[in-house]
């Protein structure tokens, strides 16, 4: 009897011990690679920050590029005093905010309709929305360029080289995915809720504003964050459709005006790029869970 239990113990203990040991090794390796990849992932933004704190003299002197000897905020101050940069920032902000509003005004009713109310062709449309999300901007910018020219010929409205024209085309990038996120959120709201509302005599509009929007707030925030980041970082459309300095948005403005010929003012370029990356980063820092929910929503719910 006692022999038996000893035998059983001696076979269990080594297994446990080896599991513990392998667990410790797994942890060690995990941390090792996480540190390694964090260095790789954070190196460019960190180096941008380092460069943005140097003056041109220190950048062109052959010193350690990874260290700042005489930190200075001159690059940032110069940008805050530069009319061009402030114009880029204003254009980008106005566009991003309006695009977020327009996206929500289109996506929320459409998602409500596609997730809850059926009409002829609504299932096909839901699939179609997903497919439009897959059509890249790089396929559409050339025909859009030509369509803008036609509109100018027909009506005299000039859409090329006006920053507000971007507000018309950005929703094509934001609305499909925002609708997709919202369909997933609306579909998860129990049907009993809207039946109860209908019995209480609520109309569709009340059902949307009193039940669906409040319940789906996390999804709406996720969709808004998505729309904002897309509108803020879009590069191809403004590069193709705007040229005058006062019509540019941030990404294009930094690339085309701060890089003048062969004279690069790298400190200022890096400061400008970091400030340009700040709004999405700040949103991410404060609303990380919503940001990630928006990212994964597209795939976790079909």
């Amino acid at each position: 009897m006692s022999q038996h239990s000893i035998a059983a113990n001696s076979s269990v203990v080594p297994v446990q011990r080896s599991m513990q040991r392998s667990r410790r090794w797994a942890l060690l390796w995990s941390y090792f690679f996480l540190v390694l990849f964090s260095i790789f992932f954070l190196m460019p933004p960190l180096y941008m920050l380092i460069t943005s704190l140097k003056d041109s003299g220190e950048i062109s002197a052959v010193t350690n590029p990874w260290w700042v000897n005489r930190p200075t905020f001159d690059n940032y101050l110069a940008l805050f005093r530069s009319n061009d940069y402030l114009t880029f920032f204003r254009n980008s902000s106005v566009i991003a905010v309006i695009v977020v509003i327009v996206t929500m005004l289109i996506s929320i009713p459409a998602a409500f309709s596609l997730s809850r109310m059926k009409f002829w062709g609504s299932t096909t449309l839901a699939t179609g929305v997903f497919l439009t999300y897959l059509v890249p901007d790089t396929l559409l910018f050339i025909p859009l360029f030509k369509i803008f020219a036609f509109i100018n010929q027909l009506t005299g409205i000039e859409l090329i080289n006006h920053w507000w024209a971007l507000i018309i085309i950005y929703p094509t990038l934001t609305v499909p995915f925002a609708t997709w996120i919202l369909i997933a959120y609306f579909a998860s709201i129990p049907k009993e809720l809207d039946e109860a509302a209908l019995i209480d005599g609520a109309g569709y509009f009340q059902m949307l504003t009193k039940i669906f929007i409040p319940v789906a707030i996390p999804g709406i925030i996720a969709a808004m964050i998505f729309a904002f980041t897309v509108a803020w970082s879009q590069f191809l459309y403004p590069l193709a459709f705007t040229t005058s300095t006062d019509q540019l948005v941030l990404p294009v403005g930094i690339v085309t005006t701060l890089i003048k010929g062969d004279v690069y003012n790298w400190g200022q370029i890096m400061a400008g790029a970091l400030l340009g990356a700040a709004p999405p980063l700040v949103i991410y820092a404060f609303l990380m869970d919503y940001y990630i929910a928006g990212l994964t929503a597209g795939a976790t719910k079909g």
Binding site: V15, S22, A26, L27, S30, Y31, F33, L34, S38, F40, F41, L42, P44, P45, M48, T51, N64, P65, L105, P109, S113, M117, F119, S122, T127, F130, T132, L134, V135, P136, T138, L139, L140, I142, P143, K146, I147, P171, T172, Y204, T229, W232, S233, F235, L236, L239, A240, P251, V255, A273, A277, P280, Y284, M288, I292, L295, T296, A299, T300, G302
Partner: protein
């Protein structure tokens, strides 16, 4: 009792008509709610996409119909075949590395204690949050021919400095590297979310049976995550194949068109070279891969929907 029956019959008789009116109203309301979306998608996505096909059949001044001459012209140019090769190489290599790194990192984050996971995840997603045009500028500066901070490190550890954007091989390497850097965090987030949904008991059972980590990945994780892996890979394939920002800012297609992908070459021809039909023809070559990937993604998404 009698009353009850008649009232029931009455409501039953009335129901079809009221129901019909109700349904009709509901579907009309629904249609109008979705109308802005339909207009937007038709006017600014479907119409331009079809218009692009029409544009591709015109001559440079867009006055004459030339049929498939633009494509014939493209097929005869060596640069075109170089762009085809580079686009495929760029997309396939970048997606493979993004998926592999994302998969590995998801495992590493999943292994460490739950307390620290949020912090690591938050830190590792930063490349994805920075607008690619901005971070690519940072990389451009890291790759600078004279002041390259990477080369500074290389020289310190006794390696030869690399001509990052000037040498065709290293230029190709650089655009892929930056794309992997930007896209891998997306895979990490997706795979981490998928890993969380794999029941922990499966791994415990496998450990007790003496399975090593490789067997656990091969027999548990991969089968459980098959669907999400295929969706993210296909989705990323589309996005990477149509990438513009990174190549445009880093190399503008150089040296000597060696790093051009479809999008950047179409931009050069169509907008800068003022040959809109030729640019449209080039960008149309993104359609086949898009269509194929889209079909498989839809199949995956529908399958997921049926399982749930």
């Amino acid at each position: 009792m009698q009353n009850d029956v008649t009232s029931l019959q009455g409501s039953a008789a009335r129901r079809p008509t009221t129901m019909k009116v109700f349904l009709r109203r509901k579907s009309t309301v629904a249609f109008f709610l979705a109308l802005p979306l339909i207009i937007l998608v038709t006017a600014l996505v479907i119409y331009p996409a079809l218009f692009s096909m029409y544009l591709a059949t015109l001559n440079k001044s867009m006055e004459r119909f030339v049929g498939l001459d633009n494509f014939v012209f493209l097929f005869k140019r060596e640069t075109f075949w170089m762009v085809v090769k580079q686009s495929c190489l760029f997309a396939v290599t970048a997606v493979l590395f993004k998926a592999a790194i994302g998969f590995m990192l998801a495992h590493f984050v999943h292994t460490i204690p739950a307390k620290g996971q949020r912090k690591w995840r938050g830190m590792l997603l930063i490349p994805w949050v920075i607008p690619p045009a901005m971070s690519t500028l940072g990389w451009f500066w890291l790759f600078d021919p004279t002041y390259s901070a990477l080369n500074w490190i290389f020289v310190r550890i006794g390696m030869d400095p690399v001509n990052w954007l000037g040498d065709p091989f290293w230029a190709r390497f650089s655009v892929i590297l930056v794309n992997v850097w930007y896209g891998a965090p997306f895979f990490l987030i997706m795979y981490l979310a998928a890993l969380k949904s794999v029941p922990e008991q499966l791994f415990e059972a496998a450990s007790i049976d003496g399975a090593n980590w490789w067997q656990k990945i091969w027999y548990i994780t991969l089968p459980m995550m098959r669907n999400i892996i295929s969706i993210t890979v296909l989705f990323s394939l589309i996005v990477t194949f149509s990438n513009f920002d990174i190549v445009r800012i880093l190399t503008s297609g150089g040296p000597v068109d060696q790093t051009h992908v479809f999008a950047t070459w179409a931009f050069n021809l169509g907008i800068q070279g003022n040959d809109i039909p030729l640019g449209a023809s080039v960008s149309l070559f993104m359609l086949p891969i898009l269509g194929i990937a889209a079909i498989f993604i839809l199949r995956g998404v529908n399958k997921r929907g049926n399982e749930a």
